[in-house]
C-alpha cells in the first residue's frame, strides 16, 4: 500500500517523537526532551526507511508503519511510556502520509485490542507480517480536498436519510442547496422522498431523492413501480437490485462503485433487520 496521495513517504522527525511522547505521558516538551535518549529515538524513527541505495527493505507503507511502532515500542528511548508513544507515533506517521488511523472495533469500550497488540509488539512477540496486517486494517485513505471552485460553494442542504415530507416552494421555485428549480407547477407543497441506497451508516454517500412537484403521491408511486419491477424481474428481487447497484452506486467514504461483496453484505444485513 503506497501513501494514499501517491506522494513520496515522509518520515517522522525527532520533534514529532517528542510531541507524541509529551502527549502520551502528559508532560511538557522541555521535560520530554530532557529524558529522551535521542540515539535510540532516532534509530527507531529511521527503522521504516531502512535500505541501501535504491533498495528499500520495507517498500509497503503499512509495513513501514508496523516497523516504526515495533521500533518505538521496543527501543526504550524513554524511561517510561514507550508503548503509548509507539501507538501515537504510528498513527501520526500514517496521518503524515495521508491516512486516518481507525481504532479497532474491539477497542470499545476499554481499548483491549490496541493495548494487547502494542503490549505484545513491545516484547517482539508479534510477527512483523501479522502486525502489518493489523496496521493495514487501521488505515483509511483521506480523500483529496475538493477543488476550490467546489469548496467555496455554500454547503448543500442535507436531509436526514429516509425522510419523507413536504418541500414547500414559493413563486413556483424549489431550492435545494445551490440547486434552484424554476417553473415548478403543481400542488403546493411538493412532496419530497429521500432514501439511502446503502444500509450502513458509514456507507451513506448517495441518497436517492425524488421530488414530487405535481402530486403528493408521485414519489411513492415511483418507488412502488420500482418494487413491482423488481418482483417481476426474472432472476428475482435480489438480482434486480444487484443489477441496479453493483458497479453503479457510489459506496463508502472514498466513493468507489459498490462491489459485489459490499452488496452481499448489505443485503444480508437488511435481511437480518
Amino acid at each position: 500500500m503506497a501513501p494514499s496521495n501517491g506522494w513520496e513517504v515522509v518520515y517522522l522527525e525527532l520533534d514529532d517523537f517528542h510531541r507524541a511522547a509529551a502527549k502520551a505521558l502528559n508532560l511538557d516538551l522541555t521535560t520530554v526532551r530532557s529524558i529522551t535518549n535521542e540515539t535510540l529515538a532516532g534509530s527507531a524513527l529511521a527503522a521504516p526507511a531502512a535500505g541501501f541505495g535504491d533498495f528499500e527493505q520495507y517498500p509497503e507503507f503499512a509495513t513501514k508503519a508496523a516497523v516504526l511502532i515495533q521500533a518505538v515500542a521496543s527501543n526504550h528511548a524513554l524511561p517510561d511510556g514507550n508503548k503509548r508513544t509507539a501507538l501515537l507515533c504510528g498513527a501520526l506517521f500514517c496521518q503524515l502520509n495521508g491516512f486516518a488511523w481507525i481504532p479497532p472495533e474491539a477497542d470499545d469500550p476499554d481499548g483491549t485490542e490496541s493495548a494487547e497488540v502494542i503490549e505484545a509488539v513491545s516484547t517482539r512477540s508479534v510477527p512483523l507480517g501479522a502486525l502489518t496486517a493489523w496496521v493495514g486494517d487501521r488505515l483509511l485513505a483521506v480523500p483529496p480536498a475538493l477543488p476550490k471552485s467546489l469548496a467555496q460553494r455554500p454547503p448543500l442542504v442535507i436531509y436526514p436519510a429516509e425522510y419523507v415530507g413536504d418541500l414547500p416552494y414559493a413563486d413556483h421555485t424549489v431550492t435545494i442547496g445551490e440547486l434552484v428549480i424554476h417553473d415548478v407547477h403543481g400542488y403546493n407543497p411538493a412532496g419530497v422522498y429521500v432514501r439511502r441506497i446503502s444500509g450502513k451508516t458509514e456507507g451513506i454517500s448517495v441518497a436517492e431523492i425524488i421530488i414530487s412537484a405535481v402530486g403528493d403521491g408521485y414519489a411513492q408511486e415511483e418507488l412502488d413501480a420500482e418494487n413491482a419491477e423488481a418482483e417481476r424481474y426474472p432472476l428475482g428481487v435480489k438480482e434486480f437490485w444487484r443489477s441496479r447497484l453493483v458497479g453503479k452506486a457510489v459506496y463508502g467514504k472514498d466513493g468507489h462503485p459498490m462491489t459485489d461483496e459490499e452488496f452481499e453484505s448489505d443485503w444480508a444485513e437488511g435481511e437480518q433487520s
Binding site: N5, W7, D15, Q95, W101, D108, S114, V142, A145, A161
Partner: protein
C-alpha cells in the same frame, strides 16, 4: 421535518471526521512544502489520544 438523535449523531460524526481529514491534508501538504506543521501535529495527536484514550490508559497500567 423530524430529525432523530441517531441522525444528529451521524451528522456530528461526519463533520468531526471532515475536520480531521482537513487537518491530515494540511499536515501532509505542509510537511512536504517545508512549512512549520507543529500546530497540526499537536492537534492530530490530541484527536488520536482522545480516540485511543482507553487503549492508552490500559497501556499506562
Amino acid at each position: 421535518m423530524t430529525k432523530s438523535a441517531a441522525d444528529e449523531e451521524i451528522l456530528a460524526q461526519e463533520v468531526s471526521e471532515l475536520d480531521e481529514d482537513a487537518l491530515i491534508r494540511t499536515l501532509a501538504t505542509g510537511r512536504r512544502e517545508g512549512r512549520d506543521t507543529s500546530q497540526e501535529v499537536e492537534a492530530l495527536l490530541e484527536v488520536t489520544a482522545q480516540e485511543n484514550r482507553a487503549a492508552l490508559d490500559r497501556l499506562a497500567k
